[in-house]
Point group: C2
Chain length 699, copies 2
């Protein structure tokens, strides 16, 4: 290694005297000899500096390493409370292996919980364990009875009256027994004369009681960690994106909110519960892009909805051709009545015609000559868009105005927002905006449209975004899907990051969808819908399998709705609407698919077949879903599937039924090694529900 | 999942009002819009609560995630200082991939360093990058010249006089150029009239200068992390353990320090630099164990050295048959003169005859009847040993006395200690003791003899132990060795845990050594010595291949030196002393083997062959060592080895010489795919030094 170039700083003003070394001869004694050590707590984000994320209805898994020196037993619990609780609750942790402990916290309210792990030296259980071993080895334990009596007496001093009486009585019985045993020359209570006493001593009830009475000097509490709770829909949601202007009743007729409302039956029939609309605001004229993104627009070209703002207004105005504010509110209410949330797009940028350009020139970037910089990624230029200057002189008034924009739409009934390119605005801005909104309305959901570097996407989740777009869109091979999903569904990323899987978006028509045919649409649909509890499609392009790119090598749609009004034939026989409806029905019927934390991949001896499961233990029985997808859009693929028996709660020799929820076919399987075959010309996927056998009843 | 049992705590006194929710409508504005985010800093231990570990001579690798919103460029540096430094130094970080940055800090002094990562928005480099892209695309950049001039002018205000003049001059030239270009109707400096100016603008020198002048509002410093620096021997050491009483000149003659001193030539000839002696103190009579650990000793049985303390004294006394304190000091000096440190055993327990038993009864555990508890692991009992009570009423005086014991031996010239069973004493005790000693003598080394659960071993390293015994002793298969070594040599464990590999100890004669023959000793030696920069053997049992266990299934040596005086024939022709000397010479000659951080495993298509490399870039050339070991002690094994070209700095079509340092054979290899064969009846290992070819000179 070549020596690094070291720069010695001339300015030592940053030197803080408080950080200088102090005398250490010898170190002061520790205040207390607290023996338990607690570490490796999950979930935690950035060492506890930010809250982990949960959703209403979660059983939040909390784990920690906890251990003590020596051979004593210990016990651990998670103490937790919601911000609105008057006191703490606690849940006992179970010991896993290698000093790892686990508990599940029931999360049932929006807002914020806090928790800490408590670990105690369990002297009573240690004494019982050793007593049992000594007695079994025939050792003289009369003095050990006295040790136990001391423990009980000592704990009794901290007990409530009733418990105290019981513990003292046990202690006295033990003392008497010790005397009798010593007098008789025996080594232990022989012949079981004190059977009732030992039944109490070895009972879980007394063990739990003794544990709650552990002296403070034998108990350690971890630092406090926070959990921010979003609504259940942040965890489990099914998105449908459409361009309102393309819902008109004829070709090139500008659609309205009323048209969108009449489209709700269709959206509901497919089982979606979020309807996401690209920006609904007036569109600028200056620099407007033409069809297929042409630099110069024809007079009748409608322009990109993301070029927000014109004489008619900006981010709180509605494009006049879509209708009125009342029309919008009507649409929102109508959607709500079907369980559908209307999601708006927060694209914090303007067209050159936005009112802010003249009212607040300081909110923009200026060139030395005084003109405003339009958006660019040199040498690329976006002449129809001005970025906002989040760091200019007037940043406070700009930030506040943007907060007001969000509040305005919340007041109209919107509680789900898709945020356009959040990674090009300061993290501090989003953290401030989302915290401000969540303080007022903890039920609001923000989806980050950030297809950027992994650390940046993670940071957006850490600072408050409820969901994020992902790289799923481009993950096609078995290895890509498995490794990416492992990253997303396990700690630390899963502690704060919620993926939302999109097979397509108005910006992304993947190579796979361009060339894979109907089977590619089907398999990408099933992968998205079953790998991730949150997913969405951009329709009707998706169900109608729109697959022609603007040019070879491009991911842009030809004749993209971003630049023109399209008209869609929803009655097309090739439409996937019915399959989508079925897949979404399966998602609603099966709680296993509404979470990501049990996702497990299973081995198939064919790289073109991917298999995975999700499970959910419920009050009325376990929900076990196994999905197998053929990743080859051209040819049938067969393989032997080895199920991970432990992940599914299967016995190695179990006989059971695999019920294919897509085709309603039932397969009788046994053991963990079974044959699968999937043909891209039929249905290229299985979504199996594992059922106990109905005939012979053995499992 | 069944609902967890939630216990609502009646005592809410623990509720701290300061943790209650505050109003958040809206959040206060952030103080500053600092755009860089820094995270994932390595090395760090427990989120920075404890220091990471380094040794004198290290180039400490520091890494961090650092990123900003948007597309601007940034720069990062590590700022660091030793406790004794007056100011900070800094080293530029290089950008890896996915927002990961790295630098190496030169560590050259004992004690403590601190460091923080600094990340800055690099507006100047961003402007240069964009200017280049705009110019190449033929865009009008005259206003961009003015933007650059503004940046230079603004930075000049913070610069020293000389730099200020240069920056202002560049700014003025840029302004003039902008005017000329605008006047001429051109879009950029065409024809290269300002070539000299642009050479300055694009120089690394100006970029570095502009970077140091970054405005404070564009710079973020991470929190401060600490690094504790041990002597180089903590990182690279070669241990030899022997029982002094077995160095006598005849059978059953009690050896002395003088005998040990005359054994130093032998130890030095094998290349060891730490000579570790089991406890050298008087041995108790009460409960003394007999030969092979018999519960009752014969009158002449010497007892276990770990049963410390008798009428002659305790932890600061010397067993009379070994000699005097002067003899011991003479031995220590004589060893030092050969570069060998004498390491003592800190076994903080006593025999029932230890003076402390009567002087300080409160330092022990008492049964209710008043007797002292001896050591046990119920139902097992160790009647010759009393454990100390580290938590009793008199814990402070006990702890201080134990500190005095360590100080006493340090005063006699000892600076390396092997600590017996540290995991059965409180972590708080070790942390206090080691910090106290290190405050006085930062060069002292503590080796933790803890063969316990992984989290406990890690904790001992975190709280200060310089080295630790490991599970290497029992890791035999390729998978076991590879996965364990990956854990030990990468972050986070490698940030604080230094392994010391022992093929055998007085307590552990592995099944592999019992039944694997001479080749098992050879391969375990080479594995220990080349996988880990710190390793040791318990001799002369090791070089004489002592391999008979007390009984089948036991890991205890038959006729163990723990309970009797043995006499060893060091002249035995089968002795491995010469091979050990060669292996240790190779370790001294090859810096690659003196560190663990570059350890890389290479693929061999045979589960019985394991291959790995270590590399070190030096001033005079790179040191590249490749080791291949046959793990099968019975049969020759062959295989194709695929070298990881990147780890070795090899070109895929390179021709080079593999020089086997054990046999002095040279093999001409080319590319990354080569054949290996190892025969357990010869030398079952290669230790290759990779050399450039000497004949045709192409590489």
């Amino acid at each position: 290694m070549a020596s690094p170039r070291v720069h010695r700083e001339s300015d030592s003003s940053i030197d803080r005297p408080s950080e200088r070394r102090e005398a250490v001869t010898p170190e002061p004694f520790p205040v207390d000899i607290l023996r338990p050590v607690i570490g490796g707590i999950a979930p935690q984000v950035d060492g506890g500096k930010r809250p982990a994320r949960a959703a209403v209805g979660d059983l939040l898994r909390v784990e920690a390493d906890a251990f003590i020196d020596g051979h004593d037993l210990m016990s651990c619990a998670v103490r937790f409370r919601h911000d609105d609780d008057a006191g703490w609750s606690s849940v006992k942790m179970e010991s896993l292996f290698n000093d790892r402990w686990r508990a599940h916290l029931p999360i049932n309210r929006l807002g914020r919980y806090r928790f800490k792990v408590r670990a105690s030296v369990d002297r009573y259980s240690t004494w019982r364990r050793d007593l049992r071993a000594r007695t079994a080895a025939g050792q003289d334990v009369s003095e050990e009875y006295l040790v136990g009596a001391e423990l009980l007496h000592e704990a009794a001093r901290r007990a409530k009256a009733g418990d105290r009486r019981e513990l003292v009585a046990m202690a006295e019985e033990l003392r008497a027994l010790a005397l009798r045993v010593a007098k008789s020359g025996a080594r232990a209570d022989q012949g079981g004369n004190a059977a009732a006493l030992f039944e109490s001593i070895y009972s879980e009830r007394v063990s739990d009681l003794m544990n709650t009475l552990t002296e403070a000097s034998r108990t350690v509490n971890s630092e406090t960690y926070f959990v921010s709770v979003d609504p259940a829909k942040a965890r489990f949601s099914t998105w449908y994106e459409l361009f309102p202007r393309s819902t008109g009743t004829g070709a090139h007729v500008h659609g309205t909110f009323a048209d969108v409302e009449s489209r709700l039956d269709y959206v509901e029939s497919m089982g979606f519960d979020v309807l996401y609309l690209p920006p609904i605001h007036p569109i600028g004229r200056t620099g407007r892009k033409g069809l297929n993104g042409a630099v110069v627009a024809e007079p009748n070209d409608p322009g990109s909805p993301w070029a927000i703002g014109a004489d008619d207004g900006g981010h709180t105005a509605i494009h006049p051709q879509l209708g009125t504010l009342d029309d919008f509110r009507h649409l929102v209410r109508s959607a709500h009545s079907r369980g559908i949330d209307v999601a708006l797009d927060l694209a914090f940028q303007t067209s050159p015609d936005h009112p802010w350009v003249h009212e607040h020139p300081d909110w923009f970037h200026h060139l030395p000559g005084g003109s405003i910089r339009y958006a660019e990624n040199p040498p690329k230029r976006y002449e129809d868009i001005y970025p906002l200057n989040f760091e200019g002189f007037e940043w406070r008034s700009l930030w506040f105005e943007l907060l007001e924009v969000v509040r305005y739409w919340i007041a109209q009934g919107v509680s789900v927002f898709r945020v356009d390119n959040p990674h090009t605005k300061p993290f501090a801005f989003w953290e401030w905006l989302i915290a401000s909104i969540k303080g007022e309305r903890p039920d609001v959901i923000f989806l980050a449209e950030a297809f950027t570097r992994p650390r940046v996407m993670e940071q957006l989740a850490k600072i408050g975004f409820s969901q994020s777009y992902t790289y799923f869109t481009w993950r096609s091979t078995k290895w890509e899907i498995e490794s990416y999903l492992r990253e997303l569904t396990t700690s630390p990323v899963a502690d704060y990051f919620r993926p939302n899987f999109w097979p397509n978006t108005p910006d992304i028509l993947t190579d796979e969808l361009q060339h894979g045919g109907r089977t590619a649409f089907l398999s990408r649909l099933v992968l998205a819908a079953t790998l991730s509890a949150n997913y969405g499609i951009y329709g009707p392009t998706f169900e109608l399998q729109e697959h022609v790119a603007r040019f070879s090598g491009s991911e842009e749609y030809l004749d993209s709705e971003k630049y023109e009004i399209r008209s869609w034939d929803l009655t097309n026989k090739q439409s996937l609407a019915k399959v989508i409806a079925l897949v979404n029905q399966i998602r609603r019927d099966h709680p296993a698919l509404q979470f990501n934390d049990t996702l497990t991949f299973h081995h198939v001896d064919n790289e073109q077949l991917i298999a995975y499961s999700k499970t959910r233990v419920g009050e009325t029985g376990d929900d076990v879903i196994v999905v197998v997808v053929n990743l080859d859009h051209g040819y049938p693929q067969t393989g032997w599937l080895d199920l991970d028996a432990q992940a599914l709660g299967l016995k190695a020799d179990a006989r059971y039924v695999m019920h294919d929820l897509l085709t309603d076919a039932r397969f009788e399987w046994s053991g963990t090694h079974n044959f699968v075959k999937l043909d891209p010309h039929g249905v290229p996927c299985h979504i199996f529900a594992l059922e106990s056998p109905t005939t012979d009843g053995t499992n």
